[in-house]
Every structure is written in structure tokens, then in C-alpha cells.
């Protein structure tokens, strides 16, 4: 025991300070956790409410006593898929989404590659216009041209208008992706005698597959969610899901159970897709904005 009395006096308060600091730290941690839980609940609860309501009968939806305790039923989903015949609308959304994403990939991926390699800032900036311009302003002229060509009501105007959404998105995501591929790899390919197109097809493209996958899923989600273009340009037979959902709102009353079941059917696929691409989704959603 070499500690002096003086040292012992000093040590005691120090330990007190340390433990009170630790307590303050845990208290801050508790508050942080409470905040995290509240934030999560705020964003999750409404979606959960939509899901729960989709499994309720009309009676249970109107009954505050049956808010959380009710007999789940699949009748709403049967109605949506059976009586309201939603399958063709799902098919329409799928066709428009897949085709507009597919064509946009064929056009957009090479464009993004060339814009990255040749530093075509002005050209890539031009694609930003599609992000900024209000869709409403394009619809009258588009409708005019498409109806002149006798295309309104078919898939063509829908695919073309949705390509206006998917193409710039894919191009912007791929721009940042190609920027990440080292130029040395392409140089090596050139030394081995590959042509410009060969370098793109055999070196850049295979390396860009993960980026292409993300871009495709995001583009498909955007096409799937799009409402405005299909509202004007789709016909009876080509109506997409977001437009078809209005079937549940009659003049007199709303079939809430059916409406929520339809909402779940629309939302679930894109949410599952987003789960797989969540790492890249922010860069995709903000494509263009952060590059100036």
C-alpha cells in the first residue's frame, strides 16, 4: 500500500465523476433508442395498418372495437383478383415495366458508358431535363401525336412514356457505375487487340452487371409506380395497377377492404425488390441531383 491519503481523497471523486459520466452516457443511449423506435414505428405503422385492413371484413374496418382483434379473412384478396379481375392490370403493369426497362437498358447503358469514357458532361446533363420537367406539360402534345398515329389505348404510348422515366434513371445510375471501373482494365483489352466496341462488350459490360441489375430493378419500380402517364395514355384494356385501383372508389361509398387489398398487391412486389437493392437505392433515387 503506497497510496497516500491525499491520493485516496482524489481518487474517490474521480470514480464518482466517471460513473456519473457512464450513467449520462447510458441515459443518452436510452433516449437514442427510444427515438429510433419511435421513428421506425412512424414509418412502419401506416403500412402495417394497410396490411391489417386488407385482411378485415368491411364490418371490422368500421368497428373501432375490432381495431386489432378481428378474424382475418382473405375475402378482399379474392374480390380483387376475382370479381374486380385485377390479373389483367397486374399483367399490364408488368408488361409496360419490363418492356420499358428492357429498351431503356439497351439504349441507356451504352450511352452512359460513352458519356463516362468521353466525359460528355453536357450530354449527360441533358438527361437531367427529364427529371426536372413536369410530366403534365408533356401529356397534351404526347396525347396529340399518339392519337394522330392511332396508338392511344395500346401498349406503345405507355411503353414510350414510361421509357421517359426509366431511360434517364438507368443512364444516371450507370454513369456513376462506369466511373468506378478502372480505365487500366480497358487499356489492357485494347493492347490485346480489342476494338472500342469489343472493350465495351467484353470488359466494361461484364463488370457492370451488378450496376445493371440495380438500375433495372429501380427503373422497373419507377415504371410500376407511375400513375400520371397511364392515367391519360392507357385504354380500357391496357390500364395499369395505379389507375385500376380507382375501381374501388364508387360515387356513394368506398370498398375499403378491397382498396387496401389492392394497395397491398401493388406495393408488396416493389417493396420486396427494394429489399434486395436497398444498398444502392439511395444513389438511384437521387440520381442526377447530387451531380449538378
Amino acid at each position: 500500500m503506497t497510496t497516500t491519503a491525499a491520493e485516496q481523497i482524489v481518487r474517490a471523486p474521480r470514480e464518482v465523476i466517471r460513473s456519473s459520466r457512464r450513467r449520462a452516457k447510458t441515459r443518452a443511449e436510452v433516449w437514442r433508442w427510444i427515438a429510433i423506435v419511435v421513428v421506425s414505428l412512424v414509418f412502419l405503422f401506416p403500412l402495417m395498418w394497410m396490411l391489417i385492413s386488407a385482411f378485415k371484413t368491411s364490418l371490422d374496418i368500421t368497428d373501432p372495437g375490432a381495431m386489432f382483434t378481428f378474424e382475418p379473412t382473405l375475402r378482399n384478396f379474392e374480390n380483387v383478383l376475382g370479381r374486380e379481375n385485377f390479373l389483367p392490370f397486374i399483367w399490364n403493369s408488368l408488361v409496360v415495366g419490363v418492356v420499358s426497362t428492357g429498351i431503356a437498358l439497351v439504349v441507356g447503358v451504352p450511352a452512359a458508358y460513352a458519356m463516362t469514357r468521353f466525359h460528355m458532361n453536357r450530354s449527360s446533363g441533358m438527361l437531367l431535363v427529364a427529371r426536372i420537367i413536369p410530366g403534365v406539360s408533356l401529356l397534351v402534345p404526347w396525347y396529340f401525336v399518339f392519337s394522330r398515329m392511332g396508338l392511344v389505348g395500346g401498349y406503345t404510348p405507355l411503353v414510350i412514356s414510361h421509357m421517359f422515366v426509366t431511360l434517364p434513371l438507368i443512364a444516371w445510375i450507370m454513369l456513376s457505375f462506369f466511373e468506378g471501373i478502372p480505365a487500366e482494365l480497358e487499356e489492357a483489352g485494347r493492347v490485346d487487340g480489342l476494338t472500342n466496341i469489343g472493350v465495351f462488350a467484353r470488359i466494361a459490360l461484364p463488370l457492370a452487371v451488378p450496376g445493371i441489375a440495380t438500375a433495372s430493378i429501380l427503373a422497373f419500380i419507377f415504371s410500376w409506380n407511375n400513375f400520371l402517364f397511364a392515367l391519360v395514355l392507357s385504354g380500357e384494356a391496357t390500364r395499369t395497377l395505379p389507375v385500376a385501383i380507382f375501381n374501388f372508389i364508387a360515387y356513394s361509398s368506398i370498398d375499403w377492404g378491397g382498396l387496401m387489398a389492392a394497395s397491398v398487391i401493388i406495393t408488396l412486389p416493389v417493396m420486396i425488390m427494394a429489399l434486395f437493392t436497398q444498398k444502392y437505392i439511395v444513389s438511384g433515387l437521387t440520381a442526377g441531383a447530387t451531380k449538378g
Binding site: 429510433i36 414509418f43 401506416p46 403500412l47 395498418w49 394497410m50 381495431m67 439504349v107 441507356g108 450511352a111 460513352a114 450530354s123 441533358m126 438527361l127 431535363v129 427529364a130 426536372i132 420537367i133 413536369p134 403534365v136 406539360s137 401529356l139 397534351v140 402534345p141 396529340f144 394522330r148 414510350i160 421517359f164 431511360l167 443512364a171 490485346d192 487487340g193 466496341i197 469489343g198 467484353r202 419500380i221 410500376w224 409506380n225 400513375f227 400520371l228 391519360v232 395497377l241 395505379p242 385501383i245 382498396l259 389492392a262 394497395s263 397491398v264 401493388i266 406495393t267 416493389v270 427494394a274 429489399l275 439511395v282 444513389s283 433515387l285 437521387t286 441531383a289 447530387t290 449538378g292
Partner: protein, 313 residues
């Protein structure tokens, strides 16, 4: 090695490149980019020119019918004698300004909250991602049920605290604030995720230096973190403002054409749609759209300038 040789022989086996592919190879820069650029240009340029032309005509009823040049007539009428125009301008700015401001504050809070790693961080990120990808029309319908005055959860929730229910979306006076709330719910995560990405790229030294200098958490946030985060903040505000100005799905799905019986949720976007596809008044609709364009362009330009000034500091 064997892979290399087969690759090589396959190229040779294809024979000398044809004149077309040789030409494409030489001009790869334009061969690759022209289709995308041409598509975008055609889809935008023709409509924009057409809109500007229509705005100075009396085009009505059908676009295919003849219409004549009337000069600034539509604009004069819109500014002086069209009762739905100025309120729509006001609502557009109120909706955008209010929603984006709240989204920025809450998004910053959430970004700071999630900044330090914690157990379950991935799960929370997924949760705040969900509103972003959810189909806007379905989201609108979901909130329509929650805010339904008699059967909705919102009033039930207020009832637990003894607060009497509100009319929410169905009440003309409360519709716009309620819809701003929905916009805030759906898009705050976007702001949070952009700022979170911005925070993750910041260097740690200035913050540590501030700790050494004895700055408290609040001082560090105001004087160290926020100035460095400015480019990300401007990006988030720019992106959200452009989208909020153009909000259509939410307003149309909940309030219908014209933004409700008293046009209580009618913004410039909804007004232009209503004039085009409800009244077939293409001349007036185009005049509204020209003003709308100018607002969006001016706004984007302003924010770009601010971001430039910010990044020069």
C-alpha cells in the same frame, strides 16, 4: 491461357470487321449516345415548343381543330380574371415550402440519429426505405383510410388522449396541411438517406478538433457538421423541391380532379391537368404550364447557385 486463345481465334474467325462495324467503332462516342439523347430531346423538345405555341392561342375542345393566335390573351386572363390561378400558385408554394422545410429538419434529425452504428441499423434503414418505394397512389389510399373521419385510425388515436376528431383530408380547411403531412411521411426518409450518405463522407478531424476545443454537441453541429454538410443539404432540398412542386399522384388520388369541391388542394400541377383533360382548354392550360416551367427552372437555377456558393467556401 486457353481462354485467351479461344477468345482470340473467335475474333479472327469472325473475319475482318465489316465497314459498318468499323464505322461504328470509330464513332462509338456518338453511336452509343445519340439514341438516348435523341429520344429525350424528341420527348421533351416537341412538347415544350408545342406548349409555348398553344399558350398564345385559343386552342379549345380538340387539339386537332384549328386554333388562332391571340397573343398574351391567356396570360392576361390568367393573371387578372381567372380565380383559380393565384390560389393555386399560393398552394403550390405553401405545399412545397412547408413540406420540404419539415422534411429537411426531420430528415436531418433522423440522419444524425442513425449516424453512429448500432445493432439493428440495417433493419431501421430498410424500414425508412419502405415509404420511398411504396406506390404513391397506394400510399394515398392508405392515408385516405387512416384519415377517414368516422372509421379512420387517426381520429381513434386522438380519442385515446381525449382529443375530438378532425375532418383531415375530407375537410376543405384541413386538406392541404393533412396532405403535406402525407408528403412529409413519404419523403422525409429520402432527405434522411441523402444526408446520411453526406455525413458518411465527412472527415472526422474537424469534429475531433472541436471536441478538443471544448465545443458541446450543439455547437459542433451548428459550426462544424452543418457547414460541411451543406452540399448534401442543397442536393436534398433541390431534389425534394422539384418533386414537391410537381406533386400529382397524392393530390389527385385523394381529392380527385380540381383538388376537391372547393379546389382546396389544387396546385399548379393539378390545375394544368384539370384545364387540359377536364375542360379541354389547351390554350389556358399551356399558359399555366409556361408559368409553372419558369418557376421550376428559376427555382433549380437558384438552388444550383446556392450550392456553388456553398462549395466555394
Amino acid at each position: 491461357m486457353s481462354v485467351m486463345t479461344t477468345e482470340g481465334s473467335r475474333t479472327r474467325g469472325a473475319g475482318p470487321p465489316g465497314p459498318l462495324s468499323a464505322w461504328a467503332n470509330r464513332h462509338i462516342k456518338w453511336v452509343f449516345t445519340v439514341p438516348a439523347l435523341a429520344f429525350t430531346a424528341v420527348m421533351v423538345l416537341f412538347p415544350v415548343i408545342y406548349t409555348v405555341v398553344l399558350s398564345v392561342t385559343d386552342a379549345r375542345g380538340s387539339i386537332q381543330r384549328d386554333f388562332s393566335f391571340i397573343g398574351a390573351g391567356n396570360f392576361v386572363e390568367m393573371f387578372t380574371d381567372f380565380p383559380r390561378f393565384w390560389p393555386a400558385v399560393g398552394r403550390t408554394f405553401l405545399f412545397t415550402g412547408g413540406a420540404v422545410l419539415v422534411e429537411l429538419v426531420l430528415g436531418l434529425g433522423i440522419a444524425l440519429l442513425l449516424r453512429k452504428p448500432f445493432r439493428g441499423q440495417g433493419a431501421v434503414r430498410v424500414v425508412i426505405l419502405m415509404p420511398l418505394v411504396a406506390t404513391p397512389v397506394a400510399v394515398a389510399m392508405m392515408w385516405l383510410l387512416i384519415f377517414e373521419p368516422t372509421i379512420g385510425f387517426a381520429n381513434e388515436f386522438l380519442g385515446w388522449f381525449g382529443i375530438s376528431g378532425l375532418g383531415w383530408i375530407s375537410d376543405p380547411g384541413q386538406a392541404l396541411p393533412t396532405l403535406m403531412f402525407v408528403d412529409i411521411w413519404q419523403w422525409t426518409p429520402m432527405v434522411a438517406l441523402i444526408l446520411l450518405a453526406g455525413l458518411s463522407t465527412l472527415p472526422e478531424e474537424p469534429e475531433e478538433a472541436a471536441v478538443v476545443d471544448g465545443a458541446n454537441a450543439w455547437q459542433r453541429l451548428i459550426h462544424v457538421t452543418l457547414p460541411m454538410l451543406l452540399p448534401a443539404i442543397v442536393a436534398a432540398v433541390l431534389l425534394r423541391s422539384i418533386d414537391a412542386l410537381k406533386t400529382f399522384d397524392l393530390l389527385y388520388a385523394t381529392k380527385g380532379r380540381g383538388g376537391g369541391s372547393l379546389h382546396e388542394a389544387e396546385t399548379l400541377n393539378i390545375l394544368a391537368y384539370s384545364l387540359s383533360f377536364e375542360y379541354n382548354d389547351y390554350g389556358m392550360a399551356s399558359a399555366v404550364l409556361v408559368v409553372f416551367f419558369l418557376i421550376i427552372v428559376l427555382f433549380s437555377w437558384l438552388l444550383f447557385r446556392i450550392s456553388k456558393v456553398g462549395s466555394q467556401q
